[in-house]
Amino acid sequence: MLALVPGVLFSYFVQKIPEIGSGRVLFESTPWVPALGVSLGFRLDGLSLLFALLITGIGVLIFVYASSYLKGDRYLDRFFGFLLLFMSAMLGLVLSNNVILLFIFWELTSISSYFLIGFHNRDEESRRSALTALSITGLGGLLLLAGLIWAGNLAGSYSIGDMLNHAEVIRQSAYYPVILILFLAGAFTKSAQFPFHFWLPGAMKAPTPVSAYLHSATMVKAGIFILARFTPVLGGTALWQWALMGVGGFTMLYASVLSLAKRDLKGVLAYSTISALGVLTFLLGLGTDYAVVAACVFLLAHALYKAPLFLVTGIIDHETGTRDLTRLSGLGKALWPAALAGGLAALSAAGMPLTFGFIGKDLIYEATLHYESGWAWYLTALAIVTNVGLVAAGFLAGFKPFTGKVQEEFRHLHLPPALLWVPALVLALLGVVFGLFPGWAGAWLTEPAVKSIFQQYVPVQLKIWHGFNTVLILSLATLTAGIIIYLINTPRFRKSEFITVLERIRPGVVFGWLFIRTKQFAAAYTNFFHDGYLRSYIIKIILFAEALLIYELYRGGPFSVDFSKLSPVRFYDVGIVFILVGALYKTLKTSSRLTAVVCMSIIGYAICLLFVTYSAPDLAMTQFTIDTLTVVLFVLVLYRLPPFLKVRNVKIMVRDAAISILFGGLLAVICLRVLLEPTRYNISDFYAKYAYTLGKGRNVVNVILVDFRGFDTMFEIVVLSVAAIGVYSLLKLRLKASEKE
């Protein structure tokens, strides 16, 4: 039933083929967050149509397939929910006409794929793979976001259309390389380019329909999509070319070699997918007409053969319970429709003439051969080696399980329900149909796509037969070599030394190492700063404070003290201060807690006297009463405490003393400076004037407290109330650790 959704969408997009094929671009836009220039803006051009068709078309088949594949699963509804979410996100992504919107969908694909990869969430491997996939694509996504925002910033708009118009500004900006790198980081992580590719094989933990859909046909190609989409904006520069060709080229070669060493069917497919993605990146990097056409065609061809291969793998897994190539053979008879689909797809993957894959491969060689530099042959050689690997991998996946002797354990296999194998067969057959009638695909699908990549018309004519030329020879040679390799390379054959080395230093390991190191660093860093000791926190805070204050004092420049502004020293006040300081000294020095409290009492009392001599009777009263009460409090609490902790570490004491004295000194200097700064204006004149006439009180301080600034008082008594309640509950309520919150 759910398949209806993609079905309807698919038919909608099919309807649009003629219109788009004729070169038009459709726009649809609803304002969303205009303040940010983010609109729900969609554009349907050749490129997006091509992707949309893939997404919805394959989507239909995957939905059908999955309904049978996961039949009876407890969480089938969740599965379809996430799948649908993914499909919508993917569609949104390819249709967006706004980079922010595009990014939103981009992230949604990551998230929904996270849930899909981790669908078997009780399996630890699944969870880890999902996390890895999300981390890598998430990291890439954020970098992409930065790139998009920066580019948008330069272009002055987040609309893709506007960016296309301001492409020159961006390309000529000094920041272009950074933007490009950010951008590529997003694209490369998503489409599993070396060295970020390792999440993709892990993602094979997902149920097979997911692998087929996300990791062959759609999500991974989102990276390719944005490369294609932004070719007119960012492309065409040397950096672009070298980055894409370098990374794509290496990836395609590396992955195609590695794919041959895999025993797991899905592993083989995963690596060959990575390789294919490398090819696409590589082609877009080449950036010639040929290359882009080749990319578009290969994109379609790959989707049409890789998806059925995955589906077939799923069938095998579903029926036999294993994907181990060393155990699978001779299933062709029992699972004949799957074998048929697999075979066709494998042929297409191998680039056998009359399949769509052949046309794709052809075009790749055309592209490399026509590359206008001395590099053409090297590139072609690279393509050939890659393709040989791909051929072998295709056969490994499409033929190997079905040929040979039937294993004992698989003798009694039944043909699975049609819902499982029909989708695979349909796709495989489509590959053949397109191979037989390439012109149609060329005219209606590829040409508009290429046009939107180049932003100008490039004629595309796909033919079965180009004549007997270099390309054909190369194709046939590739095919032959691939078949030979397929025959020699039995999966039983332990990985060669070369591959073992590769496995050992593969990026996944490097990333893992990096990650562990980061975690170690994080632990060290966190424990250094947040070490659990209050003293150490206070020291850090005070040092920071001192640094800031010293800096500001230094910036303020020198100052002189005009002593004449200050009032004369009064002997009896000095006596009070003397007592105060003496008591302070005693407080610091004493090893008796009670003496310290008595000292505090003296300090408070001396302050009280200072308040008296400087005209603050209210303060003096309050200070004294509160001081007395504090003493009472201390006395009530302290008598059962153990003696003062006596730790004498002279070094630490000296250090602390230095820090403290510096702080005190700074405060003193600041006070002095403020004192010397004349104050012309004072709001207290108002209070003095109106305290009695309006406030009806003579004690101005009290009038301030209950009237002028009564709100302070009102809520300071709240502080007191809360403190009292706090004391009450702190002493009375003691929960046990086991009790709930």
Binding site: I104, L534, A545
Partner: protein, 499 residues
């Protein structure tokens, strides 16, 4: 415009707390009062926001003394929207507490103190007087001390000692700053100060003064290297309390930083750079801390620090766009962080633990709750188009504009690490099978329906708000846009206050 009703949100909570004190030990009554008051608070905050949104800045001269002589309460768009968001968060916490707080705690004054705390928050947002702000801060911290220690568990008290010592230190800096400021200018009203400070001859003194405010509010808002109290303590109190703390307390510090450093002190380049550096380190500190935490509440605490860095970074960039991002992020963060800690509490109800190593299997057992939680987690991470995404756009773009690439990179790294740790947490807590530890037990399943509702509803409510902020970002951006206008052009504020 003078309007008495602007302090309604504050008065409502005061009266609620008073009533609850009168109904001491009547926990059921207290619950009713609490939820009602929180709801009324939300209504009044909504009305206030609407008034300010459509009619401009409102003031209330307490005791009928005109500013700068009396204490003035000012509802500009910034404060009124924070009041509104606080009201939403506190309603959620209040409802959650009704079922999520141990009755013993209620018997010893949980609810009144919670309402005092919320009152303090509202007061801090609304006051236009710097010393009055200090009083509100004290109301907040004493309430938070009590809430933090309520229950008297060992970890709670240990955390509280550090929390208290460092927060008192912060208050000391703040108060010293006020003293110095009064010594220089002779005024306490913020609008008045805004007029007087530029006239002070010796501007280097003003810079010095601003350091005290930076330190005081910096500690409150837990920026590097002043954040230590936060990861020492936030994992200890009951989750409803931690939710209030996590969602609101540090944010008052941020609010104060923004208020003071836009209205009173205009940062010079040095200070801006300093703020940016602080922001960078704060983000790094938070994310590295989050990376190594196994307890979900410790994890969330680290994330608070990390995301504080985003907002401070926005202030440090000091462009309109950056501040828009920061203020937007502030709104988002209050809702989401509150929700995160409520979720932690919910998880504790579901499993009896908060240790990721022990937890598991929630997704399988409670898929609907899990998906709501997932939505909240995504908001936190900033998965577009949820609420955390939009402000980051502003911050990143502002960072590019200001050519503060390290900050941008750190913000990206912080976002990535958030994504990673949250995904890991999801995988551990929701996907994995629970460990066989005997501490793992589901107390949720046996609860009565209304209690379950009380626990889940707030999470859903806050989640809904996050989603709405994300989807209707345009409205928020309009609000934020006007708020930053208020920050950049303070003349209307000053005029509204001083007449």
């Amino acid at each position: 415009m003078t309007d008495n009703s602007i302090i309604a949100p504050l008065i409502i909570h005061l009266l609620a707390a008073l009533l609850q004190l009168a109904f001491w030990r009547k926990t059921v009554t207290q619950r009713y009062i609490s939820v009602t008051a929180a709801f009324l608070g939300l209504v009044s905050a909504g009305v206030l926001f609407h008034k300010v949104y459509s009619g401009g800045i409102l003031i209330m001269n307490a005791a009928n003394w005109r500013a700068p002589f009396g204490i003035v309460f000012v509802a500009d768009l910034f404060s009124s929207s924070l009041v509104l968001i606080t009201a939403i968060a506190s309603l959620a916490v209040s409802v959650f507490s009704a079922a999520g707080i141990n009755r013993a705690r209620m018997l010893y004054g949980y609810f009144p103190i919670f309402h005092f705390l919320v009152m303090g928050l509202n007061g801090a947002f609304l006051t236009g007087d710097i010393f009055n702000l200090y009083v509100w801060f004290e109301v907040i911290i004493i309430s938070s001390f009590v809430l933090m220690t309520l229950g008297g568990r060992k970890a709670q008290l240990e955390g509280a000692v550090k929390y208290m010592a460092l927060n008192i230190l912060a208050s000391m800096f703040f108060l010293t700053g006020i003293g110095v400021l009064y010594g220089i200018t002779g005024s306490l009203n913020m609008a008045d100060l805004a007029l007087r400070i530029p006239k002070v001859q010796n501007q280097s003194l003003i810079n010095l003064t601003s350091v005290f405010f930076l330190l005081g509010f910096g500690i409150k808002s837990a920026v590097f290297p002043l954040y230590f109290w936060l990861p020492s303590s936030y994992h200890t109190p009951p989750s409803a309390v931690a939710a209030t703390f996590g969602g609101l307390l540090t944010k008052v510090g941020i609010y104060a930083l923004f208020r003071v450093f836009t209205l009173l002190f205009t940062p010079d380049d040095n200070l801006k750079n300093l703020l940016v550096v602080i922001a960078i380190f704060t983000i790094v500190t938070g994310m590295l801390g989050a990376l190594i935490k196994d307890n979900i509440r410790r994890l969330f605490s680290s994330l608070i620090v990390c995301h504080i860095g985003f907002m401070v970074g926005g202030l440090g960039l000091y462009s309109k766009m950056a501040m828009m991002g920061a203020v937007f992020y502030l709104f988002h963060d209050i809702l989401v962080k509150t929700n995160m800690f409520l979720i932690a509490g919910l998880i504790r109800q579901l499993r009896g633990s908060m240790n990721m190593k022990l937890l598991g299997g929630i997704y399988g057992q409670y898929p609907k709750i899990s998906l709501v939680i997932a939505l909240v987690l995504f908001s936190l991470v900033g998965i577009p188009p949820l609420s955390g995404f939009w402000p980051k756009l502003y911050l990143i773009e502002a960072g590019f504009d200001a050519k503060k690439f390290v900050l941008v990179a750190t913000i990206l790294a912080g976002s990535f690490l958030t994504l990673y740790v949250i995904a890991r947490m999801w995988s551990e807590v929701f996907w994995k099978d629970p460990s066989g530890d005997e501490r793992i037990q589901d107390t949720f399943a046996s609860l009565r329906l209304h209690k379950k509702t009380f626990l889940v509803l707030p999470v859903v409510l806050l989640c809904f708000c996050s989603v709405m902020i994300g989807l209707d970002a345009q409205f928020i951006i309009e609000v934020v846009d006007r708020i930053t206008d208020e920050m950049i052009n303070t003349a209307p504020y000053i005029k509204a206050v001083l007449g």
